[in-house]
């Protein structure tokens, strides 16, 4: 019964230590850039692909619903708000979690079972500083950027559908997109991926560094990392949305 609480405690100790290392020497700038390349550039193709199609699907579905009220012209508005507030951050985070939480967990897990983590400590390096902090910083930088790209290509996907299948005027579509987005939407659309990035990187690192049981253990850690990071994304998005809704209402 006490194991989940101990695990939670260890996770927060790891998170605290990784955050403290942001302002502590030595800094591993090279590792941060390598991770930004792997997580950011590496995830770009799938983010663009899924982002554009989710925008297109959203436009198709919403246009059908809006047609009942004679409001098909507002398709751009609905696509933009849904993407920027919720779908863009959550979908992008889930994709990056699937791709990178698992990647981080398996890489660190393999290092753990082959004693490379112990070797790192024995040779004078704090594994949290060398492995966890660069991944955390890199994910915190690239996930909001990926989300912006995903939001934009999603709106372009919606535009293609609006123009070709719904016969809407392009200028009207973009005008409704532009007018519908408030600072509040942009704020939560950027805050969410920033918060999710910590869940994705730290959960991956936590499961990787706590891998036991050889290659089978690496597989188990990888699966657990993806599942926990994905669930955390949904829980976090609920609370962030709730806070923003309350702020707007007051």
């Amino acid at each position: 019964m006490k194991e989940p609480f101990l695990a939670l405690q260890e996770f927060f100790i790891l998170a605290g230590s990784a955050l403290r290392n942001v302002v502590r020497r030595p800094h591993y700038a090279d590792d941060i850039f390598i991770q930004m390349d792997q997580i950011g550039v590496g995830s770009l193709p799938i983010v663009i692909l899924t982002g554009s199609f989710s925008g297109a699907v959203l436009a198709l579905q919403m246009a059908r619903a809006l047609a009942d009220y004679g409001q098909v012209g507002r398709t751009g508005q609905v696509v933009a708000i849904t993407l920027v507030r919720e779908l863009g951050p959550v979908l992008t985070a889930l994709l990056v979690a699937g791709r990178n939480s698992s990647g981080i967990a398996s890489e660190l897990g393999s290092m753990k079972v082959t004693e490379q983590i112990d070797a790192m400590r024995a040779l004078g390096t704090d594994p949290t500083q060398k492995l966890v902090t660069p991944r955390m910083i890199a994910t915190a930088v690239v996930l909001p950027l990926l989300t912006i790209i995903s939001d934009f290509v999603g709106m372009v996907g919606g535009f293609v559908i609006a123009k070709t299948l719904l016969n809407l005027d392009g200028a009207q579509y973009w005008a409704s997109v532009w007018q519908s987005l408030k600072w509040n939407d942009l704020a939560q659309g950027l805050l969410k991926p920033f918060v999710f990035s910590f869940a994705i990187s730290l959960v991956g690192c936590y499961y990787g560094l706590n891998t036991t049981g050889g290659t089978q253990g690496v597989g188990r850690a990888t699966t657990q990392a993806v599942v926990v990071a994905s669930v955390l994304i949904f829980i976090l998005t609920f609370f962030i949305t709730k806070i923003f809704v309350d702020v707007v209402n007051t």
Partner: protein, 274 residues
């Protein structure tokens, strides 16, 4: 704190380590004077690797004290342990080379990252070349660990462990899974490091022959081979054997006592003379 001047390189004082509430080390006490060699025997899971990791501060004891060169490392925080670890080299069981780095980067790693050493890349490179020459692996600098054989990886592991010239070196099953010829090469390197650099050595092994060689042979630089300790040769330190069983230290003594032991567990290692 006695620093590096302590006559005792390593001391375990009633050390107890628990894994999942099961004792991995149970009331283990021993002392290794500087310059001495200790050969650690024991079946798999008897606690030999745990001894080495506890000596490095990678595992914290649940009870007892650990002293490295006179400094009590038992409760030291990780930050302060880095200073202690710079005086201790370790060869891990499967070498534990960083598989995403070249051999050169692997061997240079402690020189560039040990906080009390931290030399520049320009200073590190000649020392890396020297260390690789020491293990007869000059020319492999640009290769990755996956491109080397198991024996070569162990030799790189030895080079990485000794590149900083640590006064205490720990070897965890350096010959496990190797053919006899390669195993002899590794043992020769360990004896060479001990005799040329006068290091204190802890060697975990299952092969009695490894302990026998370490106790009765020395490295002769003129012939680049191991020669028996006879005639006028006086070894700088003593070689003693430690026997571990289920986390307990059940034997400590010289090779002759080890061979003469009536304990069936100990005599198994002597009989299976491999």
């Amino acid at each position: 704190m006695e620093g590096n001047t302590s006559k005792t390189a390593l001391k375990f004082d009633h050390v107890k380590v628990l894994f999942n509430e099961q004792p991995a080390l149970d009331d283990v006490s021993f002392e290794v004077p500087a310059g001495d060699t200790r050969i650690l025997f024991g079946a798999a899971g008897s606690g030999k690797t745990t001894v080495l990791k506890t000596a490095l501060g990678l595992i914290k004891p649940d009870a007892g004290r650990v002293f490295v060169f006179g400094r009590d490392i038992t409760d030291l925080p990780e930050e302060q342990l880095f200073d202690v670890r710079s005086k201790v080299g370790m060869l891990f069981q499967e070498s534990a080379l960083f598989d995403s780095m070249t051999i050169e980067d692997n061997v240079a790693y402690p020189l560039l990252n040990q906080r009390s050493i931290r030399c520049s890349v320009e200073e590190a490179l000649p020392r890396v070349k020297d260390a690789l020459r020491f293990v007869d692996l000059a020319g492999t600098e640009e290769k990755f660990p996956s491109e080397l054989s198991g024996g070569m990886r162990r030799r790189v592991g030895v080079a990485r462990a000794v590149v900083t010239n640590p006064p205490l070196v720990l070897y965890d099953s350096p010959t496990a899974g190797l053919d006899p010829v390669t195993a002899h090469t590794i043992i020769k390197l360990i004896a060479k490091q001990r005799d040329v650099k006068s290091t204190t050595t802890l060697l975990v092994t299952h092969r009695y022959k490894n302990g026998d060689v370490m106790a009765n042979f020395h490295y002769d630089p003129s012939t680049d081979s191991l020669e028996p300790n006879k005639g006028g040769y006086r070894p700088t330190g003593k070689t003693q054997f430690l026997g571990f069983k289920e986390g307990k230290l059940i034997f400590e003594g010289a090779e002759a006592e080890f061979e003469a032991s009536n304990d069936p567990y100990i005599s198994k290692f002597v009989k299976h003379n491999g």
